[in-house]
Symmetry: C2
Amino acid sequence: MSTEYTNPLFTVDSVLFTVKNGQLMVLLVKRAQAPFTGDWALPGGFIDVLQDINTDATASRKLEAKTGLKPAYLEQLQVISGPDRDPRGFSVTLAYFALVAWQDVSPQISSVESASWIAVNDLEKTNLAFDHLQIIQMAKQRLQQKTLYSMTPVFCLPGQFTIAQLKSVIEAIIEKPIQRKSLMRRIEASGIFEISEEKIPSGGRMAQLYTLKPGADLVNFERNLSL
Amino acid sequence: MSTEYTNPLFTVDSVLFTVKNGQLMVLLVKRAQAPFTGDWALPGGFIDVLQDINTDATASRKLEAKTGLKPAYLEQLQVISGPDRDPRGFSVTLAYFALVAWQDVSPQISSVESASWIAVNDLEKTNLAFDHLQIIQMAKQRLQQKTLYSMTPVFCLPGQFTIAQLKSVIEAIIEKPIQRKSLMRRIEASGIFEISEEKIPSGGRMAQLYTLKPGADLVNFERNLSL
DNA sequence: TTGACATAGTGTCACAGAGACACTAATATG
DNA sequence: CATATTAGTGTCTCTGTGACACTATGTCAA
């Protein structure tokens, strides 16, 4: 009944997405050590039980180290485990999926050489460590699914945003066009958004800025957007 | 960068539900060792890297040990972690949620003294170890949510079942009545059920038996049942 | 100043699937 | 054969998405 000899390697990795120029991007870091030296991998690492109160804190801390800020959205994705996914032996990884506005991280990220945003649809050309490609695909699927029945994608936008921006982010995620009207109905129905005082120019009529109501929880709609 | 000193205790626990006499029940075991000796707890334990190919196998194996069979449905729920949830120190628990037909396990379970089905709505009266009460509530919420947009509850039924049985299981889970008609529409629309050759008596007209198509995946509907 | 254009936002109809509920079908029992 | 009981259908309402035309308000160039 002792646990010493069987305790497997436990790590926390995060799939941090953002949307930039209509493309879904994921943050990857270049591995410095073996195994998979020089390949791209998900940012992550080991729990530090002295400073992390739980695994969410671990994920958040590791992401802050790379981006300079805590992710706007963070949610557990899945635990992946097995004897063969890490050559060093049986390993258990808790994968998170997270969102940020690229406008918020853009300044920091460019200064770090070892971290980089890569378009999710370009990953075939990239050498990815471990089973991180599959994890990213899982995270993408989950994000797409959530986008159909919630406003999760707002976390890819800065504090103030227009409907057009939100629409564009949603379309980048699900890779399908949606109706402006449907989005506005949902914004209205969710009750979690506030109309800002400001408007911003857009090339035509001024666009209304919205903000998330402080402390408002995301709502799940009863119907999906159609695929 | 060594991992030895910080590697926390990692366990796998499962919330195994079934529905019996219109009540959602959860399988609990009586703890024999400290901490929480004599309290009820979720069935679970440590990974055995020699025989478990992953954590799913761990959960499945532990449940089979208690019930005599593998659960019909098994899905990861969440990882719960923290320094205070186990008095022995920082712990990480991967919680699963699982379903079985009570008809399938009923014979075995009664023979084991240390395991017992307890109605989820009676848990206030029960002494539960660790944070297992919260985990069960999380699992219940997830099951309720899934019931609104999928046929997940079929896994609380034996291989052949009637619409009335499925209706009754769904109603026990979401604690609301639903329309027979809506359920039939979904059975039809999902395309994952087969009409069996048999019918069974029911007190009135004979009831059609249905089976899950072999190898069919669960479908997610685009709308929720209303709460 | 004005007209063309571009983007923001609205009005409204069609469509699909859930809710409600009455109706028909089939089986048991007195 | 009448009645009770459960299975299954017909069909209307209701709600929210899709589609798309229409109005509103800004810029820019002639």
